[in-house]
Symmetry: C2
Subunit: 228 residues, 2 copies
DNA sequence: GGAACCTCATTGTTCTGATCTTTCTCGAAG
DNA sequence: CTTCGAGAAAGATCAGAACAATGAGGTTCC
């Protein structure tokens, strides 16, 4: 992990330990504890503690010390928490959570994007769809994936809702994951057409069609829900 | 505002100033600046700075100082950011964003809840729906609202997806807001039936029906999308 | 004249040691 | 057994110092 500063390295180590379960909920530490564990000064230990507290992963109390909070309280939308979970044995669970989030988010994002996308965003969306067809039919999976990620990022950004837009990075992570699960026929041929349908609806200005097309696009993901 | 500790008071003041636009994106501060502005020591100023950095509301660089980041980079899922926005002139925008989020989230949450709710959660959901009818028909709006909030909280919790569950608090905030917009016939009579339909589908175990019922329940909210 | 290089002031980063405040524990008094 | 007070533990805050990166501005060399 990157560590331009000392505190970010300690934070990363500590966060990973908590997420991995090495420091389970209910564990109690002290600042002095952290200082020795990572050989840092009180100030650095305190800054890490404060950040984890701000992520609601720990609570700090006088006389008691630093207590690891149960997972249910964590700020699971923070990029670091997501990153730590993706880098731990909870990777599959985190990807599942994000996938379920996509199911709800992306159709409405497409709807909103249809209402609010700028001309520039519509053009970029069309370009991304064209790239998907180009690289999908010529079997260049990495470029196809990049176009796919770009496509979904634009939809989310064009939704005009900052809470939708903020999900672009973790959703990109999910997309990056899917090809590795080894479908032999990646990309699935119909997928390209579905993306084009979404793009056409957004460009035409038919929000309900865009929403329906996005739902269709996600239907295979949806089909897996029951199996979990 | 609450301020059990000094740093939380400073953090709150600073966060509010940034969200309100009093410190616009691009503004540059220094640590010494913060120390004097709030009459606190270096350590406290640093802890606040670190937390705001962790919310991606500021960046800290040597020689440059502390720079306010553009809104698009903020961690808009953090409860403090949401709180600051709700307490600022962006209140309406924040409520709109959350409402749009509900449109996507809640139908799938209902779907998932149908698949995953515990017997206890189903019973509590039924109780909440019954409370809604009881207090809705006897015109006790505060109790009706409490039951409504409880209803949606259970659906989100029962989804078994921590990212859905984490949205319970802000969504409760949206629900608390709606009656104040002064519908004379609050609660809307049909609403109770829609909630019951969701509850029945969840208890019966029909995920698609639950999803459809929740979508219907949100249809009036959806209708307002075009108007924005 | 311009581009590469050097110097230095500025500002965050880290460390240290001390003091204050809260809060739990334990023992003594009633 | 209950109540209350003294003490200890741990975080909270402050102050001062040394360190390190980095950008601005001047200098030197084509």
């Amino acid at each position: 992990m990157s560590a331009s500063t000392l505190h970010s390295a300690v934070l990363d180590a500590l966060g990973s330990d908590i997420v991995s379960g090495e420091l389970p909920a209910g564990s109690v530490l002290t600042l002095e504890n952290l200082q020795q564990r990572y050989s840092v000064s009180r100030g650095v230990a305190r800054e890490c503690m404060r950040i984890l507290e701000s992520l609601r992963m720990i609570t700090s109390q006088r006389r008691t010390g630093i207590c690891i909070s149960p997972e249910r309280q964590w700020n699971v939308y923070d990029t670091r928490v997501i990153r730590w979970r993706l880098d731990s044995r909870h990777r599959a669970a985190q990807l599942r959570s994000l996938t379920e989030l996509r199911l709800g988010i992306e159709p409405i994002a497409a709807h909103l994007a249809t209402l609010r996308a700028s001309a520039d965003e519509r053009a970029t969306l069309r370009a991304a769809a064209e790239d998907m067809r180009r690289y999908g039919t010529t079997h260049r999976p990495m470029r196809y994936l990049a176009a796919d990620i770009e496509f979904h990022r634009i939809i989310l950004a064009a939704s005009g809702n900052e809470m939708y837009t903020a999900l672009a990075d973790p959703i990109a992570e999910v997309l990056r994951e899917s090809p590795t699960h080894g479908r032999s026929d990646y990309p699935v041929p119909e997928t390209i057409g579905y993306h084009e349908a979404v793009m056409e609806a957004v460009c035409t200005g038919d929000p309900d069609a865009a929403e329906r097309a996005m739902t269709t696009l996600l239907s295979d993901v949806r089909g897996a829900l029951r199996l979990i």
